[in-house]
Symmetry: C2
Subunit: 198 residues, 2 copies
DNA sequence: CGCTGTCAATACGGTGCCGTATGGAAGCGG
DNA sequence: CCGCTTCCATACGGCACCGTATTGACAGCG
């Protein structure tokens, strides 16, 4: 049949490109949409290429999970950590970060939906969640909340963040800065540090 | 709508049974698992039966959405009517209701995941969410919160409920009564009604 | 310049599912 | 009994996708 005219200008693909494309597909069409043939078409190659890089579809999905776990655990916390200053500033900054960022929520939501079905996605989520929630709990402790309150409130805050991601994922309007500032105020209620939260 | 008698051994199926079975499948395997042939097998019939009741798969999915919307909205209304007494009691009762309920969270979470992909599921969610959130907002207003605070806090509370459903859907432990009581306290902080909240 | 490793195209068998067509079988009222 | 409606089985054509060869293009290196 017709020429495969050496696709002009296209570079050769590595595993990273496949994972990136798969993540994109995952974000806006869900796990079940990340299939090897459509994905190959999207990348402008055939699945003959795919099966050179991955043993099977599942291997790609696992690679997507791995990549996300690495990014999710480090990215946000690092961004906040490097921001200098007091815990209250970090908390506000962390919370504000939730509102911004355009693509991350949809990826995360897709993985959460996926986690309801797949044990491995579930395990990744468990690790990421534990880490992030522990971080928030530490901030609240540093801001003067007693251990019990820090624990329950950090969990409530984390649930809210999950809710926000889910909410915008199915079309809800992002909460905006106002509600998030209010959240910080509520979280610090009765801690003596409330007045100083920015 | 045909007769409604099904009792003994080999009962014939009506639209309701298909919707119920589809909802079950939706709850614990996601939308993409709601397929005609597996579903038929689960009901012990062939798809010849299915296509008598529904024009196509999509019609079944729409019926599932309709049924859920009716139940989801009436559940809130029931919570309103059943809980006698003061708004603070209603709020506590409503919040406590989130923790209990066994199957509802997984159905709701599945529909929320679905809503990220399908416009109709999205529309149903928008209506249900608007109703429920408006109800919470009304309670907060009745408890003495000014309009702006009632609005932002009801939204935060609603996000938290969504988060809880998602959380347990992928294996997280339910929050339990403690955090929910704490939530009520935080929501009413500075309203003058906080002390009277149960 | 051939060799070898890397990435990709083509072709194939197999599976699961959709939707249609058609022909009963079991219920009911005449 | 008949005939109509309701529910279900069987059989078929078609599509999308998985995973497996098998072969081809092209790079860098010896």
């Amino acid at each position: 049949m017709g020429g495969r005219m050496a696709r002009a200008g296209r570079e050769r693909l590595g595993e990273a490109e496949w994972v990136a494309a798969a993540t994109r597909l995952l974000a806006d069409q869900g796990v079940d949409a990340v299939r090897v043939e459509p994905l190959s078409a999207a990348l402008g190659v055939t699945k003959g290429s795919f099966y050179w890089h991955f043993a099977h579809r599942r291997a790609l999905l696992d690679a997507v999970l791995d990549a996300w776990e690495r990014r999710a655990t480090s990215a946000v916390i690092d961004a906040v950590e490097t921001a200098s200053g007091a815990p209250s500033g970090r908390l506000s900054r962390l919370v504000a970060l939730i509102g911004r960022s355009r693509r991350a929520p949809s990826v995360e939501h897709a993985i959460r939906a996926w986690g309801a079905l797949d044990p491995r996605a579930r395990a990744v989520l468990a690790r990421v969640d534990a880490r992030r929630e522990a971080y928030v709990r530490g901030l609240l402790r540093a801001l003067g909340l007693p251990p019990a309150a820090a624990r329950t409130r950090s969990h409530l805050a984390y649930l809210m963040m999950i809710g926000e991601f889910t909410w915008v994922a199915h079309g809800g309007a992002p909460a905006g800065p106002g509600p998030w500032r209010e959240l910080v105020r509520l979280l610090l209620a009765g801690s003596g540090a409330a007045a100083r939260a920015t």
